[in-house]
Symmetry: D2
Subunit: 446 residues, 4 copies
């Protein structure tokens, strides 16, 4: 699932109790470009990871899974998410003698487990899982078992599947189950720890204080359209976002154009609902990887230039509705509007299939300050002018919740809507101060 992280990748396998690993910086195709990088990863169990940096530097030391060799056995650990009390836990641990070898959050859990005085490994894990806070989906590999655990809010998706031969597969997204031919069994629930050992699956809760708050960005942008999260197909949810958006913000035009690839579902929904033809007015250069998860602003900006082309033969002289999934800094939108106009579009009406992003995320999406969010600093009308659109509308918060259609007995039907309204489902711990500071600053994107 390369789309979930491009900075680095690794695999650790368990060959009769001996764990072997490979990891490296870059894409999977780079890390595993050589037979030799894969050929020693033998055995009957393995965990893998792709790194999408939220915290920690770009060193190979931060690439997961982390592999530990203890006198009493090997242990490997991978983590998707972001802890909110990592900094203070790390300081406490170091003060009592712990030594960290990465600056990733992930290592903390290992120290907590090793320092726990509980009697069994299982109890030590549970104690550790109750100590870390924030968004996390962990995968652990021991000599005898594989363990997966999800935070009490279930911010990140985590699903279990099963192969025809009975083997279990755990993955962040169900699309991975399809690719390897595994049948979907069930999602890991918030606060659950599942253990696969001796060919069987055990499900336990490490806490009873749970409340679903699934990351809405997974539906909007992050996950693959062929995945289901909490039983909802991502493509269908996006198409529905487009449909509701068409109802909420109609406009007269000659065609609907989606920004490839993540907005194509929403755009086709908008077209279907509005009865305006869907056209391929933007073409993506398939040889350049996607914008959002590249590390620096400069790289991101360079990326867009080559990545998309407007199709003059399609848009010239036409009124275009351009549908995109979200606006972060606004730079990409400005460029695409300008591409379309340069190619002769008469009008460009921008429709965003999600509400305005105004607040940082502390649970695993890399938006950690309001400074980089145009909607946190400008009104919709100002944004319209900044990106050069003829009109601009966003999906409403209620529209988003309806489109996804979760049904949990929890705020926002079980979605995390903090990016849009600042209503964080947990205390922010170490980030509280940083968050308060960010609320007060205002940046002009002009």
């Amino acid at each position: 699932m390369q789309h979930r992280g491009q900075e680095g990748a690794g695999i650790v396998s368990n060959d009769h109790g001996k764990l072997n690993g490979t990891r490296g910086l870059g894409l999977l195709s780079e890390v595993f470009k050589d037979e030799r990088q894969l050929s020693h990863l033998t055995g009957n169990a393995a965990i893998g990871h792709v790194r999408y940096a939220t915290a920690g530097s770009g060193s190979v030391d931060n690439i997961q899974p982390f592999l530990f060799n203890f006198y009493d056995g090997d242990f490997a650990l991978a983590h998707n998410g972001n802890l909110t009390n990592a900094k203070s836990l790390r300081k406490e641990l170091e003060q009592s003698g712990a030594i960290f070898h990465s600056n990733s959050d992930t290592e903390i859990l290992m120290h907590l487990i090793r320092r726990s005085t509980k009697a069994t490994l299982c109890e030590r894990m549970k104690e550790a899982l109750n100590t870390v806070k924030g968004g996390f989906a962990y995968l652990m590999l021991t000599e005898k078992s594989m363990v997966a655990a999800l935070d009490p809010n279930g911010f990140r998706p985590l699903s279990i599947g099963q192969m025809v031969n009975g083997a279990y597969v755990v993955a962040s997204e169900t699309c991975a189950l399809e690719v390897v031919g595994a049948k979907f069994i069930q999602d890991v629930q918030p606060g659950e720890m599942i253990t696969i050992a001796d060919g069987g699956l055990t499900i336990e809760s490490f806490t009873s204080k749970t409340q679903p708050a699934i990351c809405s960005m997974e539906y909007i942008y992050f996950a693959r359209p062929d995945s289901n999260i909490a039983g909802i197909n991502v493509h269908s949810a996006r198409k529905k976002m487009g449909k509701i958006l068409a109802q909420e913000a109609p406009v007269e035009a000659d065609m609907v154009v989606g920004v490839p690839n993540s907005s194509l579902s929403a755009a086709s929904g908008y077209a279907e609902q509005s009865n305006i033809p869907y056209e391929m007015g933007l073409v993506k250069n398939q040889y350049i990887a996607r914008t959002f998860i590249q590390p620096t602003q400069e790289l991101r900006e360079q990326g867009v230039r080559m990545k998309l082309s407007a199709v003059r033969g399609v848009v010239e002289g036409k009124r275009v509705i351009m549908v995109d999934d979200s606006i972060v800094r606004g730079t990409t939108s400005r460029r695409i509007v300008s591409l379309l106009k340069d190619a002769g579009a008469k009008e460009v009406h921008v429709r965003i299939a999600s509400p305005p992003l105004k607040y940082p995320c502390f649970y695993g999406i890399d938006i950690q300050t309001r400074r980089e969010l145009i909607a946190a600093n400008h009104s919709i009308d100002e944004i319209k002018s900044l990106i050069g659109a003829d009109s601009l509308s966003f999906l409403s918060e209620d529209g988003l919740i309806d489109a996804i259609g979760l049904n949990f007995d929890a705020p926002y039907s079980g979605l995390c809507m903090a990016y849009f309204n600042g209503d964080y489902p947990t205390p922010l711990y170490d980030y509280e101060k940083q968050y308060q500071a960010t609320l007060e600053e205002k940046v002009s994107f002009v």
Copy 2:
């Protein structure tokens, strides 16, 4: 234009009469991954090339542009296409003392130019261009000029644009002009040689015996949808292929699904014409490059497995019309049909937006024998069974010609239709024997 070749790439620049070059195997991002590979390519003129192997081995010696240092000046040369009399020309040249350093066709032109006894470089080039036969679009860079030339049938597209500052740009496809911000000026016509020197553009014909026969595969598969070829937008042509296909081969179904990415235009045309909803039933893994131009059958087969996923949430229990642009060996189609059925599709009706491929190409598309063409060896009904489809139809030859809509006073309105009907617009020279042999063999794909 990485999509036109992935085997290797190079650039030669002209810095005040001194030509400097870089070339290497692999993608552009690999060849030019380092600042240093680009930083010495200074100057005010340059030619570049991506290699798509039709003839010649995978050695770096075959990567173009070729750069020659003569006592009387530097010269660089790049070639898109395939010569039909390369083998005999090479033998003749070697017999009179010529030494070749690659096994690419391209070098031949250089020998012909250097051995010509004509008075001027321009005349020597014309003589050489009249000696080579087949499909060719050449780019040449000398100390004082850039020269582009197109074969008498104009098999390959070649367009001229101009930057705001007056600089000329020549490219195989117009999409490249858009990306660099150049305005389209005109296409190079069959048999033309254009020279850019001293800031001006000169157009000459090196032969008067011309007859347009534009490669129909460029419209069907090869070119980018945002390019125009002979004034026809490729996306629009493909959409029209889909529409005519829907008229020629309708079927009752719940949704139209295109095989991403090259068939999306045709699929949306089919959907629009048939009034059956267009859905995203197949998702492409954007991190894996496209099938057709990978070198070996084995690599191609491995590639497909990871590259596409059927979206269970969309196709489960549904009757699906799967639209693809073409069928070569049939293996890809069989896999996709099977993906869709595994994901729960009730019926899969395959509609191909081009006629059956039955004959090899000798002008630059890498299909050199009928052995690898399922439609050269099996009836449509047999193919339907082999790929596991519930029904199968191809676009008719007339449908294809209508969809593209060229208007030349030439056979097939100026298209090369040889892949479908064996009607080659030129003698086959060195390939004649091989072609006759391939007509007689029959291979079973069962």
Copy 3:
């Protein structure tokens, strides 16, 4: 000082309290082949290390210096030597929650320092240095100081120099001081910890229980001839070994030939004492690195074949005294004798400028079992036959002690002679069992 280790190398620099490091597998020329690997190592203090594996695997995780980032400051650590209680210390530490990231001994000291409850960093270091046992020379870099420490026996050399500008330099061998233009100040004494901070040098003892036992292999083989250890020049000591050997084991011959490069000093001493001409009968291929420190037996054997050539024009028809520094497995000697005989030498008399190696080293030389020592398993006469020599003699233990000429009030004048007589100057701790086992096994090298 690449000759002290070829497996890997690293440097950590201190730039105003921020430590930056680079490390990698391979030779220095490989690890630092690129400007970029060096350019970020700015600052006014730095420590470096080359890895010669005695314990720990060939992973980059074991390459030093180790760099640690703590909430209260960065810390870097490099280690030359081998601990005898590493295994039990590590187990104890892990049992109380410590996590190790390498399987090198070196990390242990860091854990001990961080877990010490002493008040100051200096006291914590001393406590840690008193806990580890065996042979060690440590270099530590903190935000404000550089610290060097030597084990209570001073097995490994460690010297302090000073640049013209007052800067201090600490190095395993004095040859490094010469290369950078530093003046030799003094050797670090057994049990000393020296601290360089605020431009000044402080010397303390962390223990009073010291007894010099300098590794005799440093004089015989390991150190560079231009270094002085404990005030004794290595080349001069080797020349003296050759002279005493000539007295102890004379033989009639036409020439003395040294095995290049480490035996040239001893050979010239033998020649000078015996008045037999010194000739270049063996030539070393300078493009192949030296045998002893390559990792596997197989690589070692392949290495010898290409590495040395006998000079037919010199040795043909002659009686040759071949002087070598030591015999480990005997394979090298057998090959060289055979090279000389193949090149026409009439007789080959082997003279070894050190006593027979019979016991493993646990303090930092990679001979950890008697199985690999021919002299632990065969008599001198048997060895003579095995290597095909016409006669064979070793230097006596007393001869070695005399040749080096140390003057400490300690057994063997302050040398460690354990390789020859099994008289280890310290308890063997974790190695005791392994050592007892090795005493009982006997292997035939026939």
Copy 4:
């Protein structure tokens, strides 16, 4: 024989008439670092080459052997030496249509062979060998034979050996025969072309106008001491140079120190003759490759700093005779004198075991202008001051000729002495003008 060239290397093998090759920039260990680079070089005949640049740039296109694929068979070619009429031949060839792909001299022979109108390949080769002028030793590999040819003066060494199984081996130096276990058969004589085919060896002369003029630099510096050239052992010749030098230029001193490694033979000769002890006062860092054959002056200067160390313990307070093989620019000598004095040497008397280098070489040693030769621009007394020596003497020309002891009926007994006296054994052709110009310029090295 890596010592003969470090810029690049290659091998071409003949597998049943199909030639396969690998070549690359850098040391042999870099070019062939991977099993894969060697594993396809199968077959029963092969030629290899290491590049030492005299003419042509540092591009991989210039790395040999060159491999050509002709319609009538493959051909590979490697060249040691330098042609004096390369430039004019190349121009002539290009004017008649030839295309060159490297800027190395070597390719010229191939064009001449291919363009020859003689009836047989053998005759065509002979014609070509009579057309090129200067210094050359060629190795050619065809589908059915291996051919070696030596210029009419025999500037470069070239020897034939035979394996136990009857296979023939041709190599520039006899040391290579020893390493592979081949028995020396005979040297290739000036003007000879030898052909190995069908398991047999044929010797022919391509010209009768021959006159031996063996490069004296081969004896002085270039060749390995364990090689024999024209029956003379190189080490023995060097030792003799040292002995004669001691007779010609005695001086009172405490020790003789050779500059490692190429001057050790001469130094030991000087010591033996003068009865002054030979000591190891300079130590070479074996991990840094030798000076002379690195490409740029800057690299050469950097190299020396780390490469040699003076041994303070040996030279301190002593009068030292420093023996070196030659002085080119004087920078190395100045550094070594300064190293010795910094290490405490009281006096440093420099003795050079060859006459002063005053004239460029056009036959294959990379000294192409007098600007870089200190002895072409300064008197011996000036050089003494420039390098900081207490005294300086060179071997006389007669002394050199005597030391080597050739016995040919030719000027200087068959040696080329042009570097010392400008007496070139052939016309200089294309270099004549450049040579005349260099005679007139005078550069100060102060």
